[in-house]
């Protein structure tokens, strides 16, 4: 692989975006790649917009993905998919969690939650995967699994062996939840 692969993960503070990119960057390092990751902390826990850039390849310089250069976007929330879609390169892939998180400011005049973010995204790219990760997590018995399920979906766009993913997940998730998280990852990975 000579080309650097660009993955953008977006969502709302508190949803676990930073943990997801933490796992992804560890996986890519374990797969033998150089990796850089960038995000800005500070407002993350206060319901703000969170975006995290991961770039991996043989030799990565910039930790930032240029506008219009993301190979894959993983959106934890619908409006965030719409907000960041301009980062996606032509024919790029986006996976979107069907979840909607309406900010309190939507209650004020002049601020409206977007009507149909999915339709907006579809106008830009054909490669859209929609997943109701919240429902799948509930079915698996723990709403906190959303994160790992979404990583499973993302994993299908990246050529990294399943063994590395499951090994890193087992190492990094809280003790006692290893097998459940691997199950959640595989559920996301099998999702079509």
């Amino acid at each position: 692989m000579n080309e650097t692969k660009n993955v953008l993960i977006v969502g709302v503070g508190g949803q676990g975006v930073l943990l997801a990119t933490e796992l992804l960057s560890t996986v890519t390092m374990e797969a033998g790649y150089d990796v850089k990751k960038s995000e800005v902390h500070g407002m993350a826990q206060r319901g703000g917009v969170v975006s995290s850039h991961v770039r991996f390849g043989d030799n990565v310089f910039s930790p930032l993905i240029p506008d219009g250069e993301a190979d894959v976007i993983l959106a934890f929330e619908q409006a965030e998919a719409q907000r960041w879609i301009h980062y996606l390169k032509d024919n790029g892939t986006i996976a979107i969690n069907k979840y909607k998180l309406v900010p309190p400011i939507a209650s004020m005049k002049g601020f409206n939650y977007p009507e149909d973010p999915i339709a907006v995204v579809r106008k830009r790219t054909k490669n859209v995967t929609l997943i109701d990760a919240v429902q799948i997590a509930k079915d698996l018995g723990n709403p906190r699994l959303v994160n790992t399920i979404l990583l499973g979906v993302l994993s299908t766009s990246l050529e990294i062996s399943e063994d590395i993913w499951t090994r890193v997940i087992r190492e990094r998730v809280p003790k006692g939840t290893e097998e459940l998280n691997v199950k959640a990852f595989l559920a996301g990975r099998a999702y079509r």
Partner: protein, 591 residues
């Protein structure tokens, strides 16, 4: 094989402190520097502390290095303004044990009030300034910086920027090297900055920086990466990565030390290329120094001193200069509803700022989470400048108006202890009739929950002295002190009203802890949540005015077509503030 980890720049600096035998590290929290000390504190081999402000952190660190300890002090860029008095004179003294001053600059102001370029401070005080580009360098430069500091008996500025602090990349781990603490060797001509001593010290500082300038010509901190296209780029820090990304075939002079500059090396580099650019973040610091030396180069003509650089901006500048065609095609952005940061559910500041707005106070506010109280719909906050400004600004306004009535200075506990006490002392002495509110949540919350002298715990989790804020206020001479519960709107409003109507100085202290930090609080403040009774809700949206993330519009409408509210019971902490503003008692605790 050496163990590899993915570290942020801040984690890597902390690891560098461990590996390179650091003895003492001090700081006051400030984004983007905070995680340095949080991570240093995980190594018991290093003494670490949160000091009450950057000046004190700097002074403790100075004392440690006078004893011959390997020492680091960390702060955000504006923190250096607070420590500047110590910073300037420390240059005269030197650094017997090795001394790194970390300044974490914030280009683009992700979480700061300005974007000052602290390299000017390095030149101002004649400190050498080193700047890493990624996490591996962030770790290695701790060792190189300490070596430089000890070799030349000089304090060293260690400049980071947000992208280096919070960006992550691969770091190879090493072992810790132990060093002895050599002990204080009394020498008044070195350690006592008297005018007569100072006059002897200043020429020594100038000679020292001249020797470091010589050393800069050969240090591995600076390196040339020969390219093929005739373009030469001098760059530094995070920007180096963008330059390599955008124009891999350019010749690059990467400056790991941006002050003093290796002028001969740069002159040779300039001769080896057809066109020379300086690409730097933020100010034209290198560019201007080169122009003084008569070296022909371009920088700010094609880039800007405003905000952060990105690969796109680097490429656009090179295109503007006529030497490059940018490969980037920015796509049209979608306009999407913003998500401005607001107070957390259960935040004690909500009731306070809602009441200040209701009472139509003129609010001189300060730096912390509660600055967000100035945003709509709470909208209470008329001025905010820097740490501790609220009280002094309030006094100044009162003197200009010849009355302090209606003026309320709001300041957090950590900020009050940082630099608010002297402001209050002055307000007492000036007989300024303003109201001072200390919004005491017992933690430094905005930066992620760091301990301070009012928290009762230290950085390493040891028991600390929990200072009594009311007693401090009494001791500086404030007589009229009231402690209130900011969850109780009636009490908050009436206490504020009484204080605002009086032309005597009043102090009000709110007594609820942060809802988020320390983590145990999340359970402590949790009471039974509230719900909206849709039979009673008239859709007036008064509850929206408390700006709570748990409150939103439901799909229910009133007969007049107004949207009724709803409360997310998973987010609601049961603080009851919204229930108190509802005019029809439609918000009730879930039974």
């Amino acid at each position: 094989m050496k163990k590899k980890m993915i570290f942020s720049g801040n984690e890597a600096v902390a690891r560098g402190c461990y590996e390179h035998g650091l003895h003492i590290a001090t700081a006051y929290p400030g984004t983007p520097s905070t995680e340095i000390l949080e991570n240093v504190s995980k190594y018991p081999e290093i003494y670490s502390e949160w000091s009450p402000n950057e000046k004190v952190a700097f002074e403790v660190a100075m004392g440690a290095t006078f004893e011959g300890a390997r020492t680091l002090v960390a702060m955000k860029h504006v923190g250096l303004n607070v420590a500047a008095d110590a910073f300037m004179s420390m240059s005269f003294i030197g650094a017997p044990g090795g001394f790194l001053v970390v300044t974490a600059d914030d280009p683009g102001m992700h979480s700061s009030q300005n974007e000052q370029d602290n390299r000017y401070y390095a030149k101002f005080a004649e400190y050498p300034c080193i700047e890493p580009s990624d996490s591996q360098e962030a770790k290695d430069f701790v060792g190189l910086g300490l070596d430089l500091s000890i070799e030349f008996d000089t304090p060293v500025m260690y400049r980071l920027t947000t992208r280096v602090c919070h960006g992550k990349s691969i770091v190879e781990l090493g072992e810790r090297t132990q060093y002895p603490i050599t002990g204080f060797k009394p020498n008044p001509k070195k350690f006592v900055v008297l005018p007569s001593h100072g006059r002897e010290m200043h020429p020594k500082v100038m000679a020292r920086i001249a020797r470091i300038k010589e050393w800069a010509e050969t240090t591995p901190l600076n390196r040339i990466e020969k390219g093929s296209n005739g373009i030469g780029i001098i760059t530094h820090g995070a920007t180096y990565n963008f330059v390599k990304e955008v124009m891999p075939d350019a010749s690059v002079l990467k400056l790991g030390m941006t002050y003093p500059l290796p002028i001969n090396m740069i002159k040779d580099f300039a001769k080896s290329v057809d066109k020379l650019f300086v690409i730097e973040e933020l100010e034209p610091f290198i560019e201007n120094l080169l122009k003084i030396e008569g070296i022909e180069c371009e920088g700010m003509k094609f880039w800007s001193n405003l905000g952060e650089l990105t690969p796109e901006i680097v490429a656009a500048g090179l295109e503007k200069a006529g030497v490059f065609k940018s490969p980037y095609n920015p796509k049209e952005k979608e306009s999407v509803i913003p998500r401005p940061p607001i107070f957390c559910p259960g935040c004690p500041h909500r009731g306070l700022y809602h009441s200040l707005r209701k009472n139509k106070a003129v609010v001189t506010t300060d730096i912390g989470c509660y600055t967000l109280g100035c945003l709509e719909p709470l909208g209470a906050g008329d001025t905010c400048v820097e740490m501790g400004a609220s009280i002094g600004v309030g006094v100044g306004m009162a003197k200009a108006r010849k009355s302090g009535k209606g003026i309320v200075a709001t300041i957090g506990d950590s900020t009050f202890l940082h630099s608010g006490i002297t402001g209050l002392l002055n307000a007492v002495n000036d007989k300024a009739g303003i109201t001072v509110v200390i919004a005491d949540n017992s933690i430094t919350a905005m930066t992620g929950g760091q301990q301070h002298p009012g928290s009762g715990e230290t950085l390493t989790g040891a028991q600390g002295y929990k200072v009594n804020l009311a007693k401090i206020c009494q001791a500086v001479g404030a007589d009229n002190i009231k402690v209130i519960d900011p969850y109780n709107l009636e009490q908050t409003r009436s206490t504020l009203k009484e204080a605002m109507e009086s032309d005597e100085l009043s102090v009000i202290i709110t007594n609820r802890p942060c809802a988020l930090y320390p983590a145990e609080n999340r359970k402590l403040v949790q009471e039974t949540p509230f719900a909206v009774d849709h039979d009673k809700c008239i859709g007036c949206h008064a509850c929206f005015k408390v700006s709570c993330p748990a409150i939103s519009e439901s799909d229910q409408k009133t007969a007049k077509g107004l949207t009724k509210s709803q409360i997310d019971s998973a987010l609601c902490t049961g603080c009851s503030v919204c229930a108190q503003v509802c005019p029809v008692n439609a918000i009730e605790r879930i039974k």
